[in-house]
């Protein structure tokens, strides 16, 4: 019997797991995919929003700025990349100027620091490659970028180091209420828990419906993003936001934390919660829009694209509350700025549980930081020499495009990577220009060796996504004779 089970290992579930791992609780997180962070939390823009965007009077508004301030500590403790690169929200039409003023006012009143309206001269100095038709821009220095999946991996590793249990590849199929809590049936196993935290993203209404706690609905809204070749790295140094129109927040130019530029997202209502397809229409919309602010960006520079689903609730705000079923909590409708807000959502939920009578006594042994993975590409020459001396696997580059060594891949596999995507999102191997053309077979070898499984069982991202099949002729020569 667990005290608390979190269903869903996105950024919200992982942040909850780490937060609750501070206390003496029997705690587990159950995730349907083979690794955490494989839902919406890996397919987003990776922006820690500046704090001034979300409207007053909403939970989103309440958590955006508070969330923003948490990330310096998190990045330091959990050893993931984090850069406060700042944001420029640009006005290209006279009627947009008022919006900038209003947004600045909203931010100022909330305490968001450093907001400033920039005139064209200052804009051009900071961003010479932007269109010269920009009238003004609102500079928000607090905006930052991260790799959201790295945050998930770090949060869950920290939670596990502090005693939380993780069960991946466990899709929750049904939930039943018992006298003393709930019984949760996954594809593999039954779990018992006093409390359930439902953090299942776009599936939150479906999971809530398993126990009649679905007093809300989720409307998935798709966003496509396009990652550009390193050639364009540095073309802008701030996040570039257009002034939103009535119908859309607009397409952003995102200097990702690793350097390459990403552009997106689109916004399109979809019915299918697994519809992660990209489209011609999406690409044309994005590049047409981006060209208006930065003419040098072209679709020809795309190296890869992906789509993610926002979990939009009927109220268009976060739903973070006890459900009609006692002991079952919904943390749903976590659309943007959900990534930004996740750390405060976790504390907010913890306080809600405390208020509802859950005994929370702190562990004296709780450790906020993890060791974190090695990053060969970021080491100095001296550090590299030492690393190779210590482990010759640092002397073998597996992924040429991103200079990733065998030692880093082995580390990733030891720390939970089970799939090609898992390796890719942990160490960037296969993420560069060749998109795995050269290194895929090397990574497969390493996965097969370390996990002791046959090559043919290796998947791209879990069940059913096998990369290859064994040959037909498994007959040996004798059989043929």
């Amino acid at each position: 019997m667990y005290d608390v089970i979190i269903i869903g290992g996105g950024i919200v579930g992982c942040a909850l797991a780490r937060e609750l791992s501070r206390y003496n609780l029997r705690l587990a997180l159950i995730e349907k995919e083979v690794e955490v962070g494989f839902g919406t939390s890996k397919t987003n823009s990776g922006i820690i929003h500046a704090g001034h965007h979300s409207a007053e009077g909403t939970l989103k508004g309440k958590f955006e700025w508070a969330g923003n301030q948490r990330w310096d500590d998190l990045a330091r403790d959990l050893k993931f990349g984090f850069k406060r690169i700042g944001e420029l929200l640009i006005a290209q039409k006279p009627e947009d100027l008022q919006y900038l003023e209003d947004l600045k006012k909203q931010g100022d009143s909330r305490g968001v620091t450093g907001l400033e309206i920039w005139e064209p001269k200052q804009i051009r100095k900071a961003e010479p490659n932007l269109s010269h038709s920009i009238l003004q821009a609102l500079h928000a220095p607090t905006a930052a970028v991260i790799n959201p999946y790295e945050a998930c991996f770090g949060l869950i590793e920290c939670a596990r180091q502090n005693g939380a249990q993780l069960f991946c590849d466990h899709p929750v199929m049904s939930i039943r209420q018992k006298d003393d809590g709930f019984s949760i049936q996954t594809g593999q196993k039954k779990f018992l828990s006093q409390i359930i935290l439902n953090a299942t993203g776009v599936f939150a209404d479906r999971v809530a419906a398993m126990i009649g706690a679905d007093n809300f609905k989720i409307f998935p809204r798709k966003g496509e993003e396009y990652l550009l070749d390193r050639r364009l790295q540095g073309i802008v140094s701030h996040l570039i936001f257009p002034t939103p129109s009535a119908t859309s927040k607009g397409v952003l130019i995102i200097p990702t934390v690793d350097g390459p530029i990403m552009v997106g997202p689109t916004a399109e209502e979809v019915d299918n919660r697994e519809n992660l397809s990209t489209s011609f229409a999406g690409a044309s919309k994005i590049f047409a829009s981006v060209r208006k602010s930065c003419p040098a960006i072209s679709e020809r520079d795309t190296i890869t694209e992906f789509a993610g689903l926002r979990a939009v609730s009927g109220t268009n705000d976060f739903i973070i509350e006890p459900s009609p079923v006692k002991g079952f909590y919904n943390i749903a409708g976590i659309q943007s700025p959900g990534l930004t807000a996740a750390p405060v959502i976790a504390t907010f939920v913890t306080e809600m549980l405390r208020a509802d009578g859950l005994a929370l006594t702190e562990k004296s042994t709780w450790k906020a930081a993890i060791d974190g993975p090695p990053h060969f590409a970021q080491m100095t020459t001296r550090e590299r020499q030492a690393a190779i001396l210590d482990d010759p696997a640092f002397g073998r580059i597996v992924c040429r495009c991103e200079s990733v060594t065998e030692a880093e891949i082995r580390y990733a596999i030891r720390h939970g990577a089970r799939t090609l995507d898992g390796v890719k999102f942990r160490v960037r191997a296969g993420m560069g220009r060749c998109q795995g053309g050269f290194c895929t077979t090397r990574i497969m070898d390493l996965l097969a060796q370390t996990l002791a499984i046959p090559l043919a069982e290796i998947t791209k991202r879990g069940r059913g996504s096998n990369v290859c099949t064994p040959r037909h002729d498994d007959l040996s020569v004798e059989d043929l004779g």
């Binding site: 396009y226 990652l227 050639r231 697994e274 992660l276 397809s277 990209t278 489209s279 011609f280 999406g282 690409a283 679709e299 795309t302 190296i303 890869t304 694209e305 992906f306 020459t381 590299r384 020499q385 190779i388 001396l389 010759p392 640092f394 002397g395 073998r396 580059i397 040429r400 495009c401 200079s403 060594t405 220009r433 060749c434 998109q435 795995g436 053309g437 050269f438 895929t440 077979t441 497969m444 090559l455 043919a456 998947t459 791209k460 991202r461 879990g462 069940r463 059913g464 996504s465 096998n466 990369v467 290859c468 099949t469 064994p470 040959r471 037909h472 002729d473």
Partner: protein
């Protein structure tokens, strides 16, 4: 092992594929004493190691060899000479004064200097992102070269029912290979109105196996959540935009991409070499020297070749010139700029010297029947057929060049009226 290596070499060659091997031989023949060849893999041979089909060496050795056999001949000659070979070692960076930063599985972290450096890093394949095929992102979409490596080096099949997008040579060769492995190849789809592969590969790999080649056709959508399930195939119009009204679905579990190769430019761009957007590789002189003195380039890192024999020939020269520079032997001075003219997509090198015979390579922009090639007004040659997938190699005599001393020379291809 450690003291085996020097820290100064006459010629350092980056990459041990056919280009690097031939460059090493060339450098040796030209008299360089200290030559180092570095390759990332455990074995030299480069891409040839995974090309177990035959068809290599027809020009160079006048016989038909498999990829590994072809590589073997070069490796043997290199091993019998004074070339030091450092495998399992990766060149991370080269400084403008030709210091190389190398990491090695056996030797750790190394700093070396070359009096001359030859870039021979080969090429990589264009990926799905480069063509932005709409749809899902399932497993089962991979480049043809990766599939080749899986089948030939790992004994695995990429899938059972395979479609191929793009008609590059690797895709054509894989169509045949997978058919022989018992897979069903449902078709090859090519965006352009003509194949991008060598004619001999279209005949030997598709026609002989009844595999259909659909030109002016593309994959308009990839279906399948986890693994490829289906493709929407559509013909394209003149602007190469798919026409959804004439689309149809094809069931398959694998999509191989054979949509082009691009020079491996990581080091070339780090060195800020002057690049040629048409070839995707660096610009070079008649001695295959890049815009940075002492740095040479050859093989697929310079421009993508369709047959390896030309790679070897070109790289022998690059190695020789690199050695001459290292040994302080006076080399010819280029003073003619070579440029692409009518219907010519790209050419190499980018400048010529009138002092000795010059070798040039070029490709046309589109297939042309009965055409006349002119290089300046002193050289012309008739062709029955020229296609973009077949690179043309020519030598020009000093007499042809002399006239252009200090000027420009243009390569033009014009259609000819046939009587």
């Amino acid at each position: 092992m450690k003291n085996r290596l020097r820290n100064k070499y006459d010629v350092v060659i980056v990459g041990g594929g056919p280009a690097g091997l031939a460059a090493a031989l060339g450098a040796q023949e030209a008299g360089a004493e200290h030559i180092l060849l570095i390759d990332r893999e455990i074995e030299t041979g480069g891409i040839l190691n995974q090309c177990i089909h035959s068809g290599f060496g027809l020009h160079y050795f006048k016989e038909e060899l498999t990829g590994p056999e072809y590589a073997e001949r070069f490796i043997r000659s290199v091993l019998s000479g004074n070339v030091e070979i450092l495998t399992d070692s990766y060149v991370l960076d080269i400084s403008p004064d030709l210091h190389l930063e190398v990491i090695s599985g056996n030797d750790g972290y190394l700093h070396l200097k070359g009096a001359a450096v030859v870039l021979a890093m080969g090429c990589r394949e264009r990926t799905r992102g480069a063509i932005r095929t709409p749809g899902f992102r399932p497993a089962g979409v991979m480049t043809a070269g990766l599939a080749q490596k899986m089948v030939n080096m790992k004994g695995l099949l990429p899938g059972r029912r395979v479609a191929i997008l793009g008609s590059g040579d690797i895709g054509l060769i894989m169509a045949r290979r997978l058919t022989l492995e018992g897979c069903e190849v449902v078709g090859v789809y090519e965006l352009l109105p003509y194949s991008n592969g060598l004619t001999r590969n279209v005949v030997q790999c598709l026609d002989d196996f009844d595999i259909p080649l659909h030109v002016s056709t593309t994959v308009a959508f990839i279906h399948g959540q986890n693994r490829v399930e289906r493709l929407t195939i559509a013909p394209v119009n003149h602007q190469l935009v798919p026409d959804p009204s004439r689309s149809r679905d094809v069931n398959c579990d694998t999509l191989l991409l054979s949509i082009g190769l691009i020079p491996e430019n990581e080091l070339s761009t780090r060195l800020r070499l002057r690049m040629d957007p048409a070839t995707g590789g660096p610009q070079v002189t008649s001695t295959l020297e890049t815009s940075l003195p002492g740095v040479f380039a050859c093989g697929n890192v310079l421009h993508v070749h369709d047959i390896v024999d030309f790679v070897s020939e070109e790289s022998l020269r690059a190695g020789r010139f690199a050695a001459e520079l290292a040994l302080g032997i006076r080399r010819p001075c280029d003073n003619i700029s070579l440029q692409t003219g009518e219907n010519v997509a790209s050419c190499v090198p980018h400048s010529l010297s009138p002092d000795r015979e010059q070798t040039i390579y070029f490709r046309v922009k589109q297939p042309m029947k009965h055409c006349l090639l002119t290089i300046g007004d002193r050289y012309e040659k008739k062709f029955r057929m020229l296609i973009p997938s077949e690179m043309i190699r020519l030598t020009l005599a000093p007499e042809v060049l002399d006239h252009y001393f200090g000027g420009k020379l243009k390569i033009d291809v014009q259609p000819q009226k046939v009587a």
